[in-house]
């Protein structure tokens, strides 16, 4: 039984690689698998295909891995820290903060804040990303600041939810005063996408996600102790406040970076930790952190491939796929899982 987590992790690593290879082979322009293979083994390839693979397919696959891993680990952190199986990476309002930043940049063209962002010469993609990151960071700082005055973790959760609602309200306000073109642009951002990133973008996204995962792995033993509740954890010497801060920072950095580059991607953060727990079978975060990361990468990669609708002309928005495919899967898995049966017996 000791070896089960190792087996699961090994399988997931292989799956991550396999789905990435699959994703690189799929796109709106057909590229024969032999060409792709030649590209990776250093053979000579038609320059157009090389550019497509290098500039379009590879960044997209890398983004799906990073975003999936980051969101899944962030969701795991939030679920453990708040002892809430319905928590997701955006529960503290991080995604709402990023959305507000983007809304100000896109919709607030005439307002003071929008003018500020435009004045920085930052509209267009760079501006969108910066605005989203700034918004997420602002919410993070607010939550951390308020967290110092608040003892109970439930209160912190409520603060996060309230901040989320407040920023959503502000976004609605901006939407009301905008014209249809800009609203559409904001809505399209909200549908989520892993296709819009370039290699310079990944130079920011990769360190952010890796930093968050490393931080999560660092506090994994303490997170195990926190499964017994904050009081027991404190009685065992866990620095609960510091662990909580580290977890919130890791979540905000990962969720904020992913939202900045990909828009708000739903569902992955809430569902993958549950899937990871079910497959690993243990509550040990030292296995759950890497398992969530790898499983998140696999799940989002598959969703991105499906969203491409290979063979058809249209392309689905990413959030439609993550929700439509994922929700039934998790519900089905939960219905069959032993944890639920165990819970019913107690």
């Amino acid at each position: 039984m000791r070896s089960r987590p190792a087996l699961v992790l090994g399988t997931l690593a292989v799956l991550t690689l396999a789905t990435a290879v699959l994703a690189v082979g799929v796109g709106s322009v057909p590229i024969p698998p032999s060409t792709t293979l030649r590209f990776f083994t250093g053979g000579s390839v038609d320059p157009t295909a090389a550019v497509l693979l290098q500039q379009v397919r590879l960044p997209r696959a890398a983004t799906a891995i990073l975003a999936g891993a980051g969101l899944a680990v962030a969701g795991l952190l939030m679920q453990t820290l708040f002892a809430n199986p319905l928590a997701d990476p955006f529960i503290l309002g991080v995604s709402s903060g990023a959305s507000l930043g983007v809304a100000v940049a896109v919709l607030g063209g005439g307002t003071l804040a929008g003018g500020f962002v435009a004045g920085l010469g930052l509209t267009g993609r760079a501006g969108l990303v910066t605005a989203a990151a700034l918004g997420a960071l602002a919410v993070l700082l607010l939550v951390l600041l308020l967290g110092r005055w608040v003892r109970s973790v439930v209160a912190l959760l409520l603060i996060g939810v309230m901040i989320g609602s407040a920023t959503t309200a502000l976004v609605s306000l901006l939407l009301v005063f905008s014209d249809p073109d800009r609203i559409q642009k904001y809505v399209i951002w909200g549908l989520g996408s892993v296709s819009g990133t370039t290699w310079p973008d990944l130079a920011f996204l990769a360190p952010a996600v890796l930093l968050g995962i490393v931080l999560a792995a660092w506090i994994a033993p303490s997170l195990n102790a926190m499964l017994l509740g904050e009081t027991y954890a404190a009685s065992m010497g866990v620095a609960v406040g510091r662990v909580r801060t580290a977890g919130i920072v890791a979540t905000a950095v990962m969720a904020g970076a992913v939202t900045a580059f990909c828009g708000p991607i739903a569902f992955v953060g809430i569902a993958v930790p549950h899937l990871a727990r079910m497959t690993v079978g243990r509550a040990d975060h030292r296995a759950l952190v890497p398992a969530s990361a790898l499983m998140g990468a696999v799940v989002l990669q598959l969703c991105a491939v499906i969203a491409q609708l290979p063979g058809a002309d249209a392309v689905l928005p990413l959030n439609v796929v993550t929700a439509a495919i994922g929700a039934p899967v998790v519900i089905g898995a939960l219905l069959r899982s032993r944890t639920l049966a165990a819970g019913a017996a107690s």
Binding site: A83, P85, A234, G237, V238, A283, D284, G343, A345, S346
Partner: protein
């Protein structure tokens, strides 16, 4: 008196309250001095709301005392960082948590957290502490059982095993028999007495069950009227009327002779077999 006793010296416990710029702390117990002997079980008694939990949590370092000192085996507990303090004492609380996927063995192994290296690997010493903890409460067969499937009594034993796996010099339990039936309560007190003796540590347990405490306890701390605290062998506290003074109401009185509560007045003649 041994070198490994718990000494509470002039402890004042309560909650700090700040009204504007003025501190107007809410004091629960004032200037308490007590001793819990190593190798023996000390039961902490008192009516509801008297401050038993507050006292235990203050000793355990889960909340700050307002004044005074707590020493264990001669070492003050106040100045210790949380991790070191966790190697000195362990607690069993009434708090419940979502069992999730945890098994009995996982929970007990978590008790080794304060002793673990940064790398988190499980040493032979850790393994032995876990096994000893499970053995002390006869819970070896619960190691592979999911917590979600255990009864309250089984879960309680696992939590005690976890506290023992911490290799503490002091064991504090807050209402450990709260969810147990009568035989289980008696069995628990017997187990705690054995643990205290075998490990030569003080064990302090608060309880509502005065009658079982009087029958099976050894030493006692009693929070009486006016937030006064008296201590001594629990039978003495019963016979000298201290328990009666603390608990008697208009309807009910504690009988030192039988060690039980009885109803006062005409209905009293209906009691008994």
């Amino acid at each position: 008196m041994t070198a490994r006793d718990l000494e509470v010296d002039g402890l004042t416990v309560g909650y700090p309250v700040r009204r504007g710029l003025v501190r107007a702390d809410r004091v629960i117990l004032r200037d308490v001095s007590l001793r819990a002997s190593a190798g023996r079980i000390t039961v902490l008694l008192g009516p509801n709301g008297a401050g038993k939990s507050t006292l235990l949590r203050s000793i355990a370092g889960l909340q700050h005392p307002l004044a005074g000192q707590v020493n264990l085996a001669g070492e003050p507990l106040a100045g210790l960082d949380p991790r070191t303090r966790a190697t000195r004492l362990a607690v069993v609380l009434t708090e419940r948590f979502d069992p999730g996927l945890l098994r009995g063995g996982d929970v007990v192994a978590l008790g080794r957290f304060p002793h673990r290296q940064r790398t988190g690997s499980f040493t032979a010493q850790d393994r032995r502490a876990v096994d000893d903890g499970l053995a002390a409460v006869h819970a070896q067969d619960l190691a592979d059982v999911m917590l979600a499937r255990m009864s309250d009594g089984q879960r309680q034993r696992v939590m005690i095993a976890r506290a023992l796996a911490q290799s503490p010099g002091l064991l504090l339990l807050d209402e450990p028999s709260a969810f147990l039936d009568a035989p289980a309560r008696v069995e628990l007190l017997a187990v705690l007495r054995r643990i205290a003796a075998e490990r030569a540590i003080p064990v302090v347990a608060s309880t509502h069950d005065v009658e079982a405490a009087v029958q099976w306890g050894q030493d006692g701390w009693l929070i009486g009227p006016g937030a006064t605290v008296s201590s001594g062998p629990v039978r003495t506290l019963a016979s000298n009327g201290a328990i009666g003074a603390a608990f008697d109401t208009a309807e009910v009185a504690f009988d030192p002779g039988t060690g039980r509560f009885r109803l006062r007045g005409p209905a009293a003649s209906d009691s008994g077999p």
